[in-house]
């Protein structure tokens, strides 16, 4: 091998080397793979800082809350005991894209991490439709800094306890604090008033007494009536799926700062929503990108065999998928499945088999797999990605099978295995598994009496008989009641039959 082309040798790294490796990777990622990324920022941190960052929801700056301390205490003990190793990197969806790497990493690790986070994840963040739609990367860090300052100010002004109570309640509702449909920007009361005002002034300016003499049509009279009513009835916009937003807008007793705290937590939850829906693809994309880049670096003689072996050791550990009966089995490993599916797409594009031509007529054998992958990374989320691209080949390779667990039956039944009859069923169910709306209970605000007894009613639409666990439900409901300030009721209604299954009730603490 031509040693002159080598970027580095041995495990030691320095800042100059990081920069050179980044540039070499950039050449491959942008030039050859056609990735489109935010500007990169790589920050070197210590293991303690890493622990700190990922116990605070993986954010570099976060407001203070005991639950982060709890997580830290836990992780720290596990880490010190050696029961658990640290994440090698952490990447923030921001512009510039901030990637944290630990100082203890070897140079090969740093190379891998740069390819994985600063190009793989970065490309995904910048291009995937969910991220484009939901998060504004350029503002993430500013928002976090604001939140931290705001909460700290509140603690000083209103006391730790009061802020903690509000945050606890808000955290409990975090999964119910996301809006699942594209944000529309509802007109605010102030804007409506301004609009009405301008309309009125326009009418006054163009007033002509002559119009009064014209007879009014029936239709016209009706719309007039509607306009005057609009202000009262529609303000609550029920049913509302975003409990945090509803409470921050309408809870009668909350103070302004509390509403702002709810909004901060809601925005944090919303920030993570695209990540939860694309974990498989995001990790798959990053893993595919680092694999591709490391191999290209090796092919072009920029890293040596030793580095390559170290990389492969690391890589295989990351993409291992233990079988269901293995002690290490913890569900499907998103790195493994994501990477396998993307490698599979490459195979289908480059060397398809007759079966692939039948299943994937649009992409099979058309070459240029990077284009196909880039499109997939941009336009899909986990659920639709699996539904579209999980191939029979891969189902056979992973020996996937579908099991159903019907409550009341003493048996699990195997519904589909990797055979001709089972492919579609497995693919459908697998996609289901990644459908976030099926994993989270569907809870909405359905009734709120703002004038009378001020009771709030939440409804859980129960599907497949999956009812809420009552302990947690009662606890969360108490939090809701404390925010709302009055009695809160939660009804569980079977989505199919409409019958009421459970009824919970909670009152606010005085």
């Amino acid at each position: 091998m031509d040693n002159r082309k080598l970027l580095y040798q041995g495990p030691e790294w320095d800042f100059e080397l990081l920069r050179r490796v980044h540039d070499a990777i950039e050449e491959i990622a942008i030039g050859e793979m056609g990735l489109n990324v935010y500007r990169n920022q790589i920050e070197v941190i210590t293991s303690e800082q890493m622990l700190d960052a990922y116990t605070s929801l993986g954010m570099p700056l976060m407001y203070s809350h005991w639950s982060f301390g709890k997580r830290y205490s836990r992780e720290e003990m596990l880490y010190r005991k050696g029961a658990q190793s640290l994440a090698y990197e952490l990447v923030i969806n921001s512009d510039p894209c901030v990637a944290y790497v630990i100082e203890e990493n070897s140079m090969t690790m740093q190379t891998l991490v740069t390819a994985h986070a600063s190009f793989g994840h970065n490309h995904f963040f910048k291009n995937n439709y969910l991220f484009r739609q939901w998060t504004r990367a350029s503002r993430v860090l500013d928002d976090l800094a604001y939140a931290k300052r705001f909460i700290a100010d509140c603690e000083e002004r209103y006391g730790l306890q009061a802020v903690e109570r509000t945050l606890d309640a808000a955290h409990a509702l975090m999964p119910q604090g996301v809006s699942r449909y594209a944000p529309k920007h509802p007109a605010r009361a102030k804007d409506i008033a301004i609009k009405a005002e301008s309309r009125k002034s326009h009418q006054e300016a163009t007033f002509n007494d002559l119009w009064r003499t014209l007879p009014k049509s029936k239709e016209r009279r009706k719309t007039d009536h509607d306009e005057s009513q609009e202000g009262d009835d529609n303000t609550l916009r029920l049913p509302e799926e975003n409990l945090l937003r509803f409470l921050s807008l309408h809870a009668p007793k909350l103070k302004d700062w509390q509403r702002e705290v709810l909004d901060i937590v809601r925005k944090t939850a919303q920030y993570f929503y695209p990540q939860q829906q694309t974990q498989l693809m995001n990790e798959g994309c990053a893993t595919f990108v680092h694999y591709q880049i490391m191999n290209r670096l090796h092919e072009t003689g920029q890293v040596d065999e030793a580095a390559m072996l170290e990389f492969l050791h690391m890589h295989t550990a990351v993409v291992t998928q233990p079988d269901f009966d293995d002690r290490r089995f913890r569900g499907i490993n998103p790195y493994a499945l994501g990477f396998a599916m993307m490698k599979d797409i490459e195979r289908i594009c480059e060397t398809p088999e007759p079966e692939d031509l039948e299943w994937f007529p649009e992409i099979a054998g058309r070459g240029n797999f990077m284009q196909v992958l880039r499109d997939a990374w941009a336009d899909y989320r986990d659920e639709s990605f699996v539904l579209q691209f999980l191939s029979p080949h891969l189902i056979r390779k992973l020996r996937l099978f579908a099991v159903s667990d019907i409550s009341g039956s003493p048996h699990l039944s195997v519904d589909a295995i990797h055979d001709e009859a089972g492919y579609r069923e497995i693919r459908r169910r697998m996609a289901h598994q990644y459908d976030l709306s099926k994993r989270e209970p569907e809870i909405e605000v359905t009734e709120a009496d703002l004038k009378g007894n001020r009771r709030l009613v939440l409804t859980h639409r129960v599907r497949d008989g999956k009812i809420l666990s009552s302990d947690d439900c009662n606890r969360v409901l108490r939090h809701v009641a404390n925010l709302w300030g009055y009695r809160v009721r939660l009804i569980e209604i079977d989505a199919d039959t409409g019958s009421t299954l459970n009824d919970y009730d909670a009152v606010a603490l005085p």
């Binding site: 836990r74 579908a402 947690d472 969360v476």
Partner: protein, 426 residues
């Protein structure tokens, strides 16, 4: 592309979170700490502690599905020989199917375990406790001092150099010794330049000659009188001033007579261990005196007090007399805050009771800021001991308190009661 080194950023960013977390589970930690006191051997109470906390107080509830209800389906990898239509018996004790498949979000936690550092442990342990009536302040034994500014000194370390004072002296000296100003020299040199430019010669022209001589004089003088001389230097001076400290002495009186069984002694020792820990941790200036007694009393060192073996009859007054003797010898009442904690099983020779009570009532309680009596016993009974009976007449003294300890679990509560900072005089 930017590489930033964040390793030097302030450490312990999560400290605030940790404190908030600890505050939240304070009561649980207290309980855990209390258990640690019961279960540990007397010697290693003061080390860090692994604390296990149940989830209920620190749970973060979320709406979630009941894992035992409802229909579910999973897709899982690694089929070996299952065929479609196969039925697998559900593993007993849970309907969650084959392992955790399909529900990666449903991670359960049991008891939450983490480590408390020794300092956190003890801080929580002794929170809200204090020595009552700590009043007399005396500057005799100085244990802490404070650095105060005290004018200027002629020498010192460079970082203490006081620039304005130094420059003032430098300026005064330069004026007094008529050090030529720099601009004066410059002016003369310019004049000389100008004269030379006009073609005048130093050898013939008197004016130029004068200028040259003058410049030489000035140069010489400037060298002779330096701009800054060692005599100008002034340094900030600091002086140690003693901080008024409260001196206190704690007398630990323990009955080691035959009637004190091993388990009773253990109880008493655990109490003193706590007391010892508390005092050494919170009051650096507190001295401890250990007295153990049977029918005679002797002052012993810490080691002997906690680990020594000695038995005999019981004469409580002997210990009190020993205490009085030590007070007279070493701890003048006007200078010292005097405390005493007595632990006993309550037995005393009958003939000694009047003397004991008299000693306490007329001498010791007047000296003491606080006198605590702890009676250790095996079990609750209607029988009241001689001392408990006798001491009941002392309850009217505000500086006297007594409590019973029957079980290791009660030690911490009793200790807490006796030394709580918001203690109501009995």
């Amino acid at each position: 592309m930017q590489v930033i080194d964040r390793r030097q950023n302030p450490k312990a960013k999560s400290l605030g979170n940790r404190q908030r977390f600890l505050r939240r589970i304070k009561s649980q930690i207290r309980k855990a700490v209390n258990e640690a006191i019961e279960n540990r051997s007397v010697a290693d109470v003061d080390s860090g502690e692994k604390v296990s906390v149940t989830t209920s107080d620190i749970g973060e509830p979320k709406f979630g599905f009941d894992s035992t209800e409802g229909d579910r389906s999973y897709v899982i990898p690694g089929n070996h020989d299952y065929q479609r239509g196969d039925r697998i018996r559900k593993p007993s004790g849970g309907g969650s199917g084959s392992g955790s498949g399909g529900s990666p979000d449903g991670d359960g936690e049991d008891a939450f375990v983490f480590m408390l550092t020794r300092d956190e442990f003890l801080d929580l342990f002794f929170e809200d406790l204090e020595l009552p009536n700590l009043a007399k302040r005396k500057l005799k034994s100085i244990t802490s001092t404070k650095w105060n500014r005290a004018g200027y000194a002629n020498d010192g370390s460079p970082q203490r150099l006081n620039k304005s004072q130094t420059m003032r002296r430098s300026l005064a000296r330069r004026i007094a010794l008529k050090r030529p100003r720099l601009h004066e020299l410059n002016r003369l040199e310019e004049e000389l330049e100008a004269a030379r430019a006009e073609g005048k010669d130093a050898e013939h022209d008197e004016e130029v000659k004068g200028l040259v001589r003058r410049i030489e004089q000035l140069r010489y003088r400037m060298q002779a009188v330096p701009f800054l001389d060692p005599v100008d230097l002034r340094y900030n001076r600091f002086e140690q001033t003693p901080k008024p400290t409260t001196q206190a002495v704690m007398f630990c009186l323990m009955d080691t007579s035959a009637s004190m069984t091993e388990s009773l002694k253990d109880l008493a020792k655990r109490f003193y261990i706590l007391l010892h820990l508390f005092l050494t941790r919170h009051y650096r200036a507190v001295e401890l005196v250990f007295i153990r007694h049977t029918y005679t009393a002797a002052e012993v060192d810490e080691e002997t007090f906690f680990h020594g073996r000695e038995t005999g009859g019981t004469v409580v007054s002997s210990a009190l007399e020993e205490m009085l003797r030590i007070v007279r010898e070493r701890y003048p009442v006007q200078d010292w805050n005097i405390y005493a904690a007595q632990a006993s099983d309550g037995h005393n020779f009958d003939h000694d009771m009047p003397r004991t009570i008299a000693l306490l009532q007329h001498e010791i309680l007047d000296l003491c800021q606080y006198y605590a009596y702890i009676e250790v016993g095996e079990e609750e009974s209607s029988y009241t001991s001689a001392l408990w009976n006798g001491y009941s007449q002392l309850d009217s003294h505000p500086q006297f308190a007594r409590a019973k300890v029957l079980d290791p679990t009660e030690i911490y509560p009793v200790f807490h009661k006796l030394f709580a900072s918001n203690r109501q005089p009995s």
